[in-house]
Symmetry: C2
Subunit: 145 residues, 2 copies
DNA sequence: AAAATAAAATACATTTTTATCTTTTATTAG
DNA sequence: CTAATAAAAGATAAAAATGTATTTTATTTT
């Protein structure tokens, strides 16, 4: 469904959110240890997200990634689109060049429902809510194998 | 969502179904022209599907791909799993090593619904139904750009 | 039996995704 | 100001997905 980059990105950002209290910043190493993701690869993803203003970062001692006031109303959808683009939400399930109701593929109507259900989920959930689930212990960002 | 291989495979098999009347067989070239898919790549996919008994084939003159009596009750789900596996239907949306209700990721409950909705769709639809949509002109297997 | 046909198998090539390592730049602490 | 720190940027590499071409095998027609 989502790319690996997107999975790591979501987990990383939720973790940053869950730890982002008054100016507290997190280093890539810490993040990746917590969410069980490859360090250099995840760093690239976070850098791209910082460029797109989904998260904030500063260099130097006590530097790291954090959440800014302006980023407080970001939805999961924004994050996913920033990494994977919007093909998943517009594209045809069977790969036709364009999804269209007037020229539909055989699963268009049903697939559209699924696709829109997913979009609704991602648009509804804020990163704040998801982070809260983790902070409260109701959800986790790494398997406990 | 689905891999390219799976998209081509679904389109190809639906087309074979839509044309499979009394012993009529279809060559890869014809199939790919109709569904606008890369020929050699699609051939591989169809060969794999033939090995897994999702479609039938014979070599030689008048040979090609066709649907056998034994393949008449195949659902779209069988086809998708034969090509892409079942990770999409079991795996965690955020890439945790295992999806589990007792150790859920922050989107587990909602994602599970989406995932199961998709599975329901694929399990409900038979290839016969989908082919009928195409035969009757209600749906198409290639964009009309 | 020979020629023609079309899938099957094999080999190869390209592109995209995922992952790692090194160098540079910005920031802060001392 | 200097040294230490951590992200940013750039270079490489490995793996997987996608795509193409060639050879082999089975089948049928003549
Ligand atoms: S045309 Fe295929 S999903 Fe809309
Ligand atoms: S644990 Fe993530 S979807 Fe179930």
């Amino acid at each position: 469904m989502f790319s690996k980059a997107c999975e790591y990105g979501i987990r990383a950002v939720i973790y940053i959110w869950s730890q982002s209290k008054e100016g507290n910043k997190l280093g890539v190493k810490d993040i990746c240890k917590e969410i069980d993701a490859p360090e250099y690869f995840t760093a690239k993803i976070l850098q791209a997200l910082a460029r797109q203003n989904i998260v904030s970062s500063t260099k130097g001692p006590n530097g790291g990634f954090y959440i800014d006031k302006e980023q407080e109303n970001i939805h999961l959808m924004d994050l996913v689109v920033a990494i994977d683009g919007d093909k998943l939400f517009n594209g045809c399930g069977l790969g036709l060049k364009q999804c269209s109701a007037t020229n539909p593929c055989p699963i268009h109507h049903e697939y559209k429902e699924i696709r829109e259900g997913l979009a609704r989920l991602l648009k509804t959930k804020t990163l704040r809510e998801l982070a809260e689930e983790v902070s409260s212990g109701k959800a986790t960002l790494h398997s406990v194998i």
